[in-house]
Amino acid sequence: MSQAAVADHDFALEPAESPLTPESWGKLGMWVFLAGDAMSFGVLLAGYGALRYFDPTWPPPSSILGIQLTALMTFLLICSSVTMVEALAGIRQGDEAKLRRFLVLTIIGGATFLGLQAYEWNKLIVHEGQSIAKDNFGATFFILTGFHGCHVFGGVVYLSAILGRAVRGVSSAVVTGVTGAAAALGVIGITAKSESALVAFIGAAVAGGIVYGVANAQRGPRGTYSAHSNSEVEIGALYWHFVDLIWILVFTFVYLM
């Protein structure tokens, strides 16, 4: 076999470049994952619509849910999308400080969103007697918003890992602090009882530890990302914008309609 034929053979086995996303195969992989994930959300929303349509006893969402609070949460996620595109624009300009600054803002936005969602759930479950088992409204509401909340939490961890690769030392501890605080807000918000405080703090510590481990395991030397090598940041940004896009739909279909 000639050298050219060997090269052709190798190329056929493992092409270096994705035909759809020349930047990286990972980006194409993320798009395919997001398409599948969108189907999950689509089916949940279709199920919500179907159950709501044939149930004449379905309560008007505005009579149970706080629209102002969720409007604020929506605005917060939109803001975090802007900070994410600014982070990506920063590293494409070769500005690592801008990448780190806007990534931290995005993570804080996601963490605050989680805190507000925990507050909303706590209000609904503890003070208003709603639950996933109460009726169709409760079942679909908690599954949809909970599934989305898991995505936001995953996004916060994911972006923290990216930030972990862009920073080192003390900064990495700051990342852990922010994500740990997010987890603490979430756990304390949901449990919110004095006897549960210990459980809340243990949960927060475990979550913080997991995030710290992920951030450290992924951490490379400063300069991991540059103007010419930033596809990991772009892939993370795709995920984060998807989470924002889904919330736009959930906010309209579940809270406003």
Partner: protein
């Protein structure tokens, strides 16, 4: 998205801010529409159009679908098309379930009727 000149990046950043302002304005319009006294169906149609516009803005400009190859756009659009198809296919069943639900005889009346017979 292969090359990013400094001027192109500056333009992109300005576009991001414009999209952000549009998203904020459309969210405010959504909230305002829910307070207007219009038929429920009309409000629902407006809300769906506004939500679809906001989602498209995020996908096209923040996820950069507008600059990607067309095939990637088809991949992204496929779930939306399948979900709309799913809802359309569910509609006949939902209609018959709703008719059954709203026209069925209440249990108390049904037992009284049986007693008379």
């Amino acid at each position: 998205m292969a090359t990013h000149s400094a001027e192109a990046l500056k333009q992109e950043e300005r576009r991001y801010l414009r999209v952000f302002i549009w998203l904020g304005v459309l969210t405010a319009v959504e909230l305002w529409i829910t307070t207007v006294s219009l038929p429920k169906f009309t409000i629902g149609c407006f809300l769906v159009v506004l939500a679809a516009t906001k989602a498209s803005l995020v996908a096209l400009y923040y996820m950069h679908l507008a600059n990607e190859k067309r095939t990637l756009m088809y991949i992204a659009l496929t779930p939306a098309i399948i979900c709309v198809w799913l809802v359309l296919m569910l509609s006949p069943d939902l209609g018959s379930v709703r008719r059954l639900w709203t026209t069925q005889v209440p249990p108390a009346a049904a037992s009284q009727h049986a007693h008379h017979d």
